[in-house]
């Protein structure tokens, strides 16, 4: 497979800068996969899992708390994550904390708009928790 450059950065550090073969990212309008030679593209991300295939490790997974993805012909894919945590460092407590935060946001929401957004987020986090249920529990 053809490789392309991929960077995953969070405000606090650069997590990956590597040549990879494919990346699956949770776009706000549905998951998408980026392969080499993708057309220039910008999307927002919702909380979810970024899966990276190829490069120095066969498969790496990261939890991201929203952010942006940008594809340019020269620089390949860049993901600007609000927060990114490698899967190995992720545990159930962390997800539970995120859910608690989301619940508080729903409770605190002052306008209809923010409440709707917070609820969406909460549902999304619950989905992730149930999806992870098996793997995370097994790891601990």
């Amino acid at each position: 497979m053809v490789a392309f450059p991929f960077d995953l950065v969070s405000p606090e550090r650069l997590l990956i800068s590597d040549q990879v073969e494919g990346v699956i990212a949770p776009g706000s309008e549905g998951e998408f996969m980026i392969l080499a030679g993708h057309a220039p593209f910008i999307s927002t991300l919702k909380p979810g899992i970024v899966t990276v295939e190829g490069g120095t490790a066969p498969q790496r997974r990261f939890f991201v708390r929203g952010g942006f993805a940008e594809v340019t012909p020269e620089k390949g894919l860049t993901i600007l994550a609000e927060e990114a945590i490698p899967f190995e460092e992720l545990d159930a407590a962390r997800i539970a904390q995120e859910i608690k935060n989301a619940e508080e946001d729903v409770a605190d929401a002052s306008t209809e708009e923010t409440r709707r957004k917070a609820e969406e987020r909460l549902n999304r986090m619950r989905e992730i928790q149930s999806a992870l249920g098996g793997t995370v529990a097994a790891a601990h």
Partner: protein, 290 residues
């Protein structure tokens, strides 16, 4: 002339002070190294956000429906000054130079008939500014219990600023902090964060982007993020600058204490010698008199 005992006490106390300043210098040096690596680690993200923003903004800037965070409110009557300083003193002119820059800026705006509001990040800036601008300070963000500033602190500050902006409390926001140049040089800097100052684009996008969702929606999410990133960058620069300033201040203090000890020791030895000579003269003249 001071007695021998008094001199001995002075020397002991200056030595104790010197030990403390020396220790503080070494702690600051260790913290500085950490702060610098953190500032470096944050750089790629800030750069990328700026790039994406520049690509997007050139397409949309100038159009009447540009978001207010980018195009401004169309006025510049009310200014918000976000003054980021340290929580602790004993770091040379670090806090006062940032506060002075902010004060000059505020005075100039007031002279122009503009309204000024101040948000202090860090207690020291508040302590300095409240004497003159007490009623204009709308909020103080205390970071005393934060060991290392993280992105979440920057987000909290940004949320406050954006909330005020949404409520129409100000038109222009400027951020004050010290840019870290080297251990002996920290440059107090003012940076406008709202409306966003877009860096001149290096090269145009080679091909039109595909947007998902709409361009304007992405921009609406990216702009607040950009403010947070700027604040975060400023906090990290500030943290490094503070430690750098403290390091050189404590280095000076240690050197001054050394000078003082040398002077006091000389004085002590002279006094001791004079006393011995005096006693000898007394003994000899006593013996001669017999």
């Amino acid at each position: 002339m001071a007695s021998l005992k008094e001199l001995r006490n002075r020397i002991a106390s200056v030595k104790a002070t010197q030990k403390i300043t020396k220790a503080m210098q070494m702690v600051a040096a260790a913290k500085l190294r950490r702060a610098q690596t953190r500032a470096e680690a944050a750089r790629p993200y800030a750069e990328r956000v700026e790039q994406v923003l520049a690509n997007l903004a050139t397409a949309i800037a100038g159009t009447p429906d540009a978001p207010r965070l980018l195009g401004g409110t169309g006025k510049d009557q009310v200014h918000l000054l976000v003054v980021a300083t340290a929580e602790r003193g004993l770091c040379g002119a670090f806090n006062s130079s940032i506060a002075r820059l902010a004060r000059d800026h505020a005075n100039r705006l007031i002279a122009e008939g503009k309204e000024v509001k101040i948000l202090c990040v860090g207690r020291k800036g508040y302590d300095i500014l409240r004497r003159q601008f007490g009623s204009r300070i709308i909020e103080v963000v205390d970071l005393k219990h934060v060991k290392q500033v993280g992105y979440s602190e920057a987000e909290t500050i940004t949320d406050k600023v954006l909330e005020l902006f949404e409520q129409g409390e100000f038109d222009v926001a400027t951020l004050f902090f010290a840019r870290f140049r080297s251990v002996i040089q920290q440059i107090p800097t003012a940076q406008q964060i709202i409306p966003a100052s877009i860096p001149a684009e290096v090269e145009g996008p080679s091909a039109p982007y595909e947007y998902e969702p709409e361009e304007s929606e992405i921009l609406a999410e990216l702009l607040p993020r950009n403010v947070a990133v700027q604040v975060f960058k400023a906090l990290l620069e500030n943290a490094a600058s503070e430690q750098g300033a403290r390091m050189s201040a404590m280095d000076n203090a240690t050197r001054n204490a050394g000078d003082m000890i040398r002077k006091l020791t000389l004085n002590y030895n002279r006094t001791r010698q004079a006393q011995i000579t005096k006693e000898l003269i007394e003994i000899i003249s006593g013996a001669e008199a017999l």
